[in-house]
Symmetry: C2
């Protein structure tokens, strides 16, 4: 049966690629709403074409696309997906970012280079190809499927919680699966059993009673006797992190941070044997890590240390040329990645308290999104089914206790109480960056691993 499914994928792969290109060519930038409605409609139509029922469910933000494909099977898989992508403002690409072009991208070979190619329209479209393959070859699906595809993942999924809570009953399932490419630059399969949480917030410093221009930038010569909101924000930020960038100086920030569990410790030790730090450096064109560590110790920093990152900062005259102004406002966007068992609410409170305690009570803190980390045990059937699918195709996965990035999977593990698994073969890169890509051959492999996973999960 699996051989037949694989053969069908190979025979129809050109058509499958066209579906992927159709997905990425439809812009769907959640930050400014570009193309969001059209993308949701496109997905709903795809679900209906597979014989399912689809619904574009309004939320207070961008809609969730919900679909059901009932196979009358004993097991039900809830598939989580995202149809939104990051903005491309100010980025320089070798191809149009929404062109869906397939080009040779050394050293990766033929690649789809497009926003969303790997994060996450590429894997999502490939998963639709897999479902189509199952239906064509077998007339049905190995499991019943429930699809929850949100349009606000890149905004921190602000309205997914409402949707999940309001639809708890009809989301009943045996496990959750998130389609993604799991192979790194070298072809190694990397599996993640969880995600970090995130708090994304903005700090805004404006002139006020403390000093500084209150309504507009003024002539720069006044900096001699008026305060600067720009300097103030910089001094406030500088109190939050050591200059070596290794330690966050906010009181209590680490209070809930836990060392690896026993299961994680075992995974880490196995992981250290295959984990190659050089791959990460090369993929990001970075020359050295923040820490002079290797193996398990470097991994522990990566996975169990909270972070305080500046995503952006802006104040005053940033265009070309000289302009001497004393700005009236400075803004910085920051994110904290939350590791087990940090809590978003406590993290936000501690940032606020830190600012207040250091005399920066006037600096406004605006929380744009916040959700906790989530983890599933390696021993659950859904994770074991995914691991088997990799082995069947000749790949021994490198299993990570969790991901460095964030996704709102706490909704599934916490709200719905379900185990989850994410991944598949395939390789992509440069998520959130110019020239985001996915390899063409990787997409073919993804489809084979995903169809195998569905069969394994049904049988397991």
């Amino acid at each position: 049966m699996l051989e037949e499914l694989f053969a069908h994928i190979d025979a129809h792969f050109d058509a499958h690629l066209e579906r992927v290109r159709r997905f990425v060519r439809q812009p769907s930038i959640s930050a400014d709403g570009t193309g969001i409605g059209q993308m949701a409609e496109l997905l709903a139509m795809e679900i209906v074409r597979l014989g399912g029922r689809a619904e574009v469910c309004p939320t207070a933000g961008h809609p969730v696309v919900y679909g059901e494909l009932d196979a009358g099977a004993p097991k039900t898989l809830l598939v989580y997906g995202m149809y939104d992508v990051q903005p491309v403002v100010g980025e320089v690409w070798v191809v149009p970012p929404f062109g869906g072009e397939i080009i040779d991208l050394p050293p990766h070979g033929p690649c789809l280079v497009s926003r969303g190619a790997t994060n996450q329209k590429g894997p999502l479209a490939c998963f639709f190809n897999v479902l189509e393959t199952c239906r064509t070859v077998t007339g049905t699906f190995p499991v019943n499927l429930k699809l929850v595809i949100e349009g606000e993942e890149e905004l921190g999924s602000p309205h997914l919680p409402d949707f999940i809570k309001a639809n708890r009953a009809r989301l009943a399932a045996d496990a959750v699966y998130f389609p993604a490419f799991s192979q790194d630059l070298t072809g190694k399969v990397v599996m993640y059993l969880g995600v970090k949480g995130i708090v994304f917030f903005e700090l805004v410093c404006r002139g006020g009673d403390w000093g500084g221009p209150t309504t507009r930038a003024v002539h720069g010569s006044n900096a001699v006797w008026f305060h600067s909101p720009t300097w103030r924000l910089i001094h406030a930020l500088a109190t939050m992190l050591t200059p070596d960038q290794k330690h966050i100086l906010i009181d209590g920030f680490y209070d809930e941070v836990e060392p690896p569990s026993e299961e994680d410790q075992e995974l880490l030790e196995r992981l250290a044997a295959t984990f190659n730090p050089e791959t990460s450096l090369q993929a990001h064109e970075v020359r050295r890590f923040k820490y002079d560590l290797t193996g398990v110790e470097l991994l522990k920093k990566y996975l169990y240390q909270p972070t305080l990152n500046i995503d952006g900062i802006v104040s005053g005259h940033t265009a070309e040329g000289t302009k001497t102004v004393l700005p009236h406002e400075a803004r910085a966007k920051l994110d904290c990645r939350l590791v087990p068992r940090m809590r978003p609410d406590l993290t936000i409170r501690r940032v606020r308290e830190h600012l207040d305690r250091h005399g920066f009570g006037d600096i406004e803190l605006i929380v744009h999104d916040a959700y906790p980390w989530a983890k599933t045990s390696v021993r659950t059937p859904v994770v074991q089914a995914l691991i088997r699918s990799f082995r069947e195709l000749g790949y021994e996965p490198e299993v990570w206790p969790h991901l460095g990035g964030s996704a709102p999977f706490y909704l599934f593990t916490g709200e719905l109480g379900l185990p989850f698994a994410m991944g598949g073969l395939g390789h992509g890169g440069r998520a959130h960056s110019p020239n985001e890509y996915a390899t063409v051959e990787g997409m073919r492999l993804f489809e084979k691993s995903a169809v195998s996973f569905l069969c394994n999960f049904a049988a397991g």
Copy 2:
């Protein structure tokens, strides 16, 4: 004679206003070159219309407009002017910034609201009106005039030094005069006997051997183990100024700073009697000074303290919405105002040495412009002629040892060895800011004071 000249100004003031509006309606943004060539041509034509010889002199940047009006008089005045203005990018105006509209601008009454209205096309156009008045009423001018009008003042006058040095012989004169509006919000005449110098530079921090992404922003989750150029620039900046923004922490920065001279000390004491700090706060919509000082002590800070101002800073994602990136570059534009007897070269060297000493040798320092301060004694004839012109119109000027702002007047005092004076009646505000303005009645007063100044200087 003066009464006749005043009457002529009053009789032709509508036409005079039209000249001012013509000047400001022609954009001439030195930062991006918009309208620079057209503005230079406009000025050359105006000089020719006054019976003079005019030349648009090319430089390595924007041209200098040079003109000569020979009256066969014993005295020669070199008039310095600028025809460029600050950019308006990102500013919100109540009228189009290059519309030359005259509107009621409470509490100032009828005003010309336009980029350049006060800095410095307003005063420049009014001075042309004065010359036209002299010629119409008397058939000539009280003094010979040489006009040097540059198009790069807002860039820090990068090519004016070349022009001055190359034209030293034909710039021979008895003194230099810079037309400007000298009345503050309350109508008080404020005179400045000098200017501060400036160093405008950019600090650029990029990922490199020290760490951080080297070629592009990467996914923000990597901040846990890669360094951030943004944090690095912030930490570097934070080492340069105390958090209360009162003291620059760069070694040797104050080494050449001198306390007020005896003449300045006398001026300061007289000044303290009329100087009203509240006027400065109100004009800039600022609620408090950096220093809890008043009178002479506050003035000493304003005039004799060097500054380190951040004109702009930018890194990473600054558009709307959330985007989690670890930026590969952060840039800050800064300016230092140089007080007597600071030197631009030493100031730049000390910033560089400070960065190196604090381990920020990788941060690039790009100098965009740099020139020293300049001062003229209150006892020189040109200054005395200007003071007399104010008194003749019923105004006792408040005399400042120098200005808080900068202009390249060292070229005249230093390179050419000439005394200089700047100012005239009239009021304007919001230079370098949205809704820059000049009052209509102030422009009329300016013209009367300037014509009186020319007569006084000729007679003195």
